[in-house]
Symmetry: C2
Subunit: 280 residues, 2 copies
């Protein structure tokens, strides 16, 4: 656990007033971060639950605001975590139970969450090594699928994730939850399709797509480094414009009567294939 010496003092909750009014601006901000518009306007996002807050803390992600609901924060580890974070002078919002219930999206609410600042990197100065590979996401319909894909991407060792245009939002609460904290360690880039194509061409990055109509089995592909695996929507696949940019289009051969597998599973199979082909 990071965060300097620990003094086991009580959280000075009394010092932070209870927010119990729906029109309170602190509550309005939290609510707005559940919408795409609110996240885009503020450049912030929400995380929820002990595991996510603990991992953000461990990875030294700056926490802008901590929010708790004392009666729901019963877990001793969660209480300790809240005290530690408070000792670094992170602002605390104490929510009334009614407002917290309105806010939380957790199945089993743990009474703790935080506001973080989105961290985006520009595409142009990305350093490339010979053995790096990237994930690029054009569009994913279900935020939970996107989160599962980002979790796989981090575990497979991608150098980062490029979001093409605005077809997918990694800071959607359902996506954040499914990443299980992997989001905090990923380098995130957003750019237009044109910028993406220019970047790949200028730096000789192989663009690798996948499609049921791909001509090459994914295991026949021999990875040329550096490369970027691109993912399109579950239903529609990649756009024609993105398909045109691809140097390779792989397919996952399937047996039986199924013509598809879960999109997050397909992305995982391809990501770990690329990861496994890396030298060393």
């Amino acid at each position: 656990m990071a965060g300097g010496p620990i003094r086991e003092e009580a959280v000075h909750e009394k010092k932070s007033q209870l927010v119990s009014d729906r029109s309170d601006s602190r509550f309005s901000l939290l609510r707005s971060l559940q919408t795409y518009k609110g996240r885009a306007q503020t450049g912030r996002y929400l995380i929820e639950g002990i595991r996510h807050v603990a991992r953000a803390w461990d990875e030294r992600v700056p926490i802008e605001t901590l929010f708790i609901e004392s009666s729901a924060l019963q877990n001793p580890y969660g209480q300790k975590l809240a005290r530690r974070i408070r000792q670094t002078n992170v602002p605390l919002v104490r929510l009334a139970p009614r407002l917290y219930q309105e806010l939380t999206r957790a199945n089993e609410p743990q009474g703790i969450g935080a506001v973080l600042r989105q961290q985006w990197s520009p595409i142009t100065p990305i350093d490339l090594t010979r053995t790096c590979f990237w994930l690029a996401v054009e569009s994913v319909d279900l935020p939970g699928n996107l989160g599962t894909i980002l979790r796989s991407a981090e575990a497979a060792g991608v150098s980062g994730v490029i979001f093409i245009d605005d077809g997918a939002d990694p800071h959607d609460p359902a996506c954040v939850r499914a990443t299980m904290g992997a989001l905090f360690s990923l380098k995130l880039v957003r750019c237009t399709l044109r910028e993406f194509g220019d970047w790949a061409r200028a730096r000789d990055v192989a663009i690798v797509g996948s499609s049921p109509r791909g001509l090459m089995g994914y295991r026949q592909f021999r990875c040329r480094w550096p490369s970027v695996l691109v993912i399109g929507s579950e239903r529609e696949g990649m756009s024609d414009e993105l398909s045109d940019l691809c140097d390779f289009v792989l397919k996952i051969p399937m047996c039986g009567n199924s013509d598809s597998i879960n999109a997050a599973v397909a992305a995982g199979v391809l990501l770990f294939e690329l990861a496994g082909q890396r030298p060393g």
Copy 2:
């Protein structure tokens, strides 16, 4: 589309009385199939939605009862499907909207579903070929994960799925939904752990487990056929008894700060690795 010549008659819905009473035995049966106990006692299970009913029909799975709610069955293809099934004298249950809403678990209910008979095969007479591989499931906590795994298993070409003891139920509605119909083409076996071990030993089947503590990277493993990949619970992994049976325990090497990926993704990565190693 299977099912013989099609006559575009109206469904003779008038002939089947509307079920609008909660205590009607036909409704009670449908409700009971949403519980493990009800499924175990009757040996039946429920499917819901046009895609699932159509696939069951295409694959000539016997449909015991069709149920519809006329006002929700607006899709023309769904209506045609209902007419075709009715022409083969499958009993129809017409549910009142109120009862249907109580029954359905779909996010966007389509007004159609069916009762199917569970199809289980005994383990002993399973024929093995040199190139076959199986999936064995000891326990999966989330039915949706199990369904996604079964969908991957069918697409990867497993010969069938063995359920060890009763730690997982492939006929749970959430599992059935996530299989996207793959369940209908899979050979399903249930047996005790002891029977499983005896079967594998007698037939020289390699038992392949996976664990973060596995000693062999999954890509280093060279598949000896026939073999069976065993899956344990998302949280607890395989039981000690099952681990003791394993000839190999593989791990998926991970980078970054993550120590795990989604269980269904992990199963997919391993299933497609085994599938890809098959000769031919």
